[in-house]
């Protein structure tokens, strides 16, 4: 394997002293991780990375840098899942600079190569930080989705009447989920009335109202009429002062009122039965 002279000498030097450098690197990394990873595990990970670093530096092999980045990204994601901070992972990468510096400290002619190496390690440290952030975002997104699913039940209230109790903020993500579940349930049950209960929605502003109106529109396209219930006094005042118009959509204070309304619209009344 031909070694590119610009990085060659230091790469050779590093390869010749692999054991010593990786040993020192492991020490520094383990110290930073404060015992959460065993020394042998750390050593194994670092040996593999070290080999990739040398290949990338010697420049003989185009894929080496790509593989190195991929390996570090994977390491970062795994650390993210295991609760390490991004700094801990990045510092682990930067620690190699210290270990190598100790090795080449007395070789003045290696300074230019060391600088190039150092810059490469800085980039890689940043990479681990970014990958960590992305991995955490994905975890948060997954959790948010799970929570959303849990908090959007669709209830069969009566023959032909279904109810959707909305709890929490009604943002566009939840609205989307509500619309999907509501429409699917309309098809499955053949219901022609849906009650959207907003008792659990803390604030109703113009955006929330728009989401409600969108949901009502969608349900209407499937032949179902919606009733919005759970309008609390303060919410009523906010709605009026914001100038929000519910138009021809029926609104009621409670779910019970909404159910009675839906039943009467379909020609049914609840009466007390005679003496038992």
């Amino acid at each position: 394997m031909d070694v590119d002279s610009s990085q060659g000498r230091m790469a050779v030097y590093m390869r010749d002293h692999q054991d010593k450098v990786v040993g020192r690197w492991s020490e520094l990394v383990a110290a930073g991780l404060r015992g959460r990873s065993s020394a042998t595990e750390v050593r194994r990970e670092l040996d593999e990375l070290y080999v990739l670093v040398i290949r990338a530096m010697s420049g003989a092999d185009d894929q080496a840098l790509g593989e190195l980045r991929a390996a570090l990204a994977e390491l970062s994601r795994s650390r993210a899942r295991n609760g390490f901070t991004p700094s801990e992972t990045a510092l682990g990468v930067f620690a190699l600079k210290d270990a190598v510096y100790e090795l080449v400290a007395d070789a003045a002619d290696l300074v230019p190569e060391y600088l190039v190496f150092s810059r490469m390690m800085d980039d890689l440290g940043l990479l681990t930080f970014e990958t960590y952030a992305t991995a955490r975002e994905q975890i948060i997104a997954d959790q948010a989705e799970a929570m959303l699913e849990l908090s959007t039940p669709v209830i069969r209230l009566w023959d032909g009447v279904i109810a959707v109790p909305l709890v929490g903020t009604l943002d566009s993500a939840r609205t989307h989920l509500v619309m999907e579940k509501l429409l699917e349930t309309l098809v499955a049950t053949g219901a022609d009335h849906a009650v959207l209960d907003i008792t659990g929605v803390p604030t109703v502003d113009t955006e929330v109202a728009q989401h409600l109106l969108k949901t009502v529109s969608a349900a209407r396209l499937l032949g179902a009429e919606c009733i919005v219930s759970g309008i609390r006094p303060q919410v009523a005042q906010t709605i009026v002062s914001l100038g929000i118009e519910f138009g021809d959509i029926a609104t009621k204070a409670t779910l019970a009122d909404a159910l009675a309304h839906a039943l009467s619209r379909t020609g049914r009344n609840i009466e007390k039965a005679g003496p038992a």
């Binding site: 309309l186 098809v187 022609d192 396209l221």
Partner: protein, 117 residues
Amino acid sequence: MERVPISKIGTTLFVSIQIDLQDESVVRLQEDLADELAATGARGVIIDITAMEIVDSFIGRMLAMIGSISRLFDAETVLVGMRPAVAITLTELGLSLHGVRTALNAEKGLELLNGSA
């Protein structure tokens, strides 16, 4: 060009759109329905779109127009069987299809028509 067949049962015209319609066919349907309404004096039109995977702004507008044309012949139109994904997309598009009533299926569509007869 595909022509959508129109059936008549009692005083109601039935249309079932089974295929991916190109614009010409929708316009043709509008014309054919107008002819049928004039010729038969039907009081109701049921358009079954269960098989339609998308309804875009053009088709949506055509469907709304069919509703208006029917009314001129003193007939009521009911659009039935819209798929949830299509309904959500139409709502996002901002198309409300005013002028056409809707129902979950042909049976409910008929109930609607007979109720308002």
